[in-house]
């Protein structure tokens, strides 16, 4: 995964990268609750886990997951504009797994930034139009105002 130049560039530009091998750092697996390899965690500056990827993931899907993790870290630090922008990038990436989740969180970040509840209703419409039937679309039903 990491020899891919897109991944290597993204990791180097946006994260402080730490590699822990299961044989040389078994205590780290225990400390962070990693149960399998490969596992990737995005941890914020306060040491709180914000995103986790378990198992092998194809290159483009991994890039989307790393972007999602970066966005979650921005969201956790209440950088709403930055979080929304990063989530939007993933929502438009076309990645079948990450895009619906990112569209959901982009809407939440927009609501957090603006305080305007119509952001949630718009997110409900978007998820049902662009990602119908996904778990993330179902989570927005409560924002739809209907039965």
């Amino acid at each position: 995964m990491y020899p891919d130049p897109k991944i290597a560039r993204f990791v180097s530009d946006h994260f402080i990268p730490v590699r822990q091998h299961v044989k040389t750092h078994p205590e780290a697996m225990e400390r962070w609750g990693a149960q399998w390899t490969p596992t990737i965690m995005i941890v914020d500056a306060n040491g709180k886990e914000r995103h986790r990827v378990e198992g092998f993931v194809e290159i483009d899907a991994l890039l989307a997951q790393l972007q999602l993790g970066l966005a979650q870290a921005s969201f956790a630090s209440q950088q709403w504009d930055e979080a929304e922008r990063l989530f939007e990038d993933v929502a438009r990436s076309g990645d079948a797994d990450a895009a619906p989740e990112a569209a959901y969180w982009a809407g939440v970040a927009r609501y957090k930034r603006s305080g305007d509840p119509t952001a949630l209703g718009e997110t409900h419409k978007r998820l049902n139009a662009d990602f119908p039937g996904t778990a993330w679309a179902k989570k927005t039903q409560v924002w739809g105002g209907g039965p």
Partner: protein, 32 residues
């Protein structure tokens, strides 16, 4: 470009606080 991996998570977290960047922890069983 090669990723400059580190192996001290606590030092990385201290740097994360200073730099405002999150830490990526990679748990691997692959040959290093």
């Amino acid at each position: 470009m090669e990723i400059q991996w580190r192996d001290d998570a606590d030092a990385a977290l201290a740097d994360a606080k200073r730099d405002g960047r999150p830490v990526l922890l990679d748990f691997s069983a692959a040959p290093m």
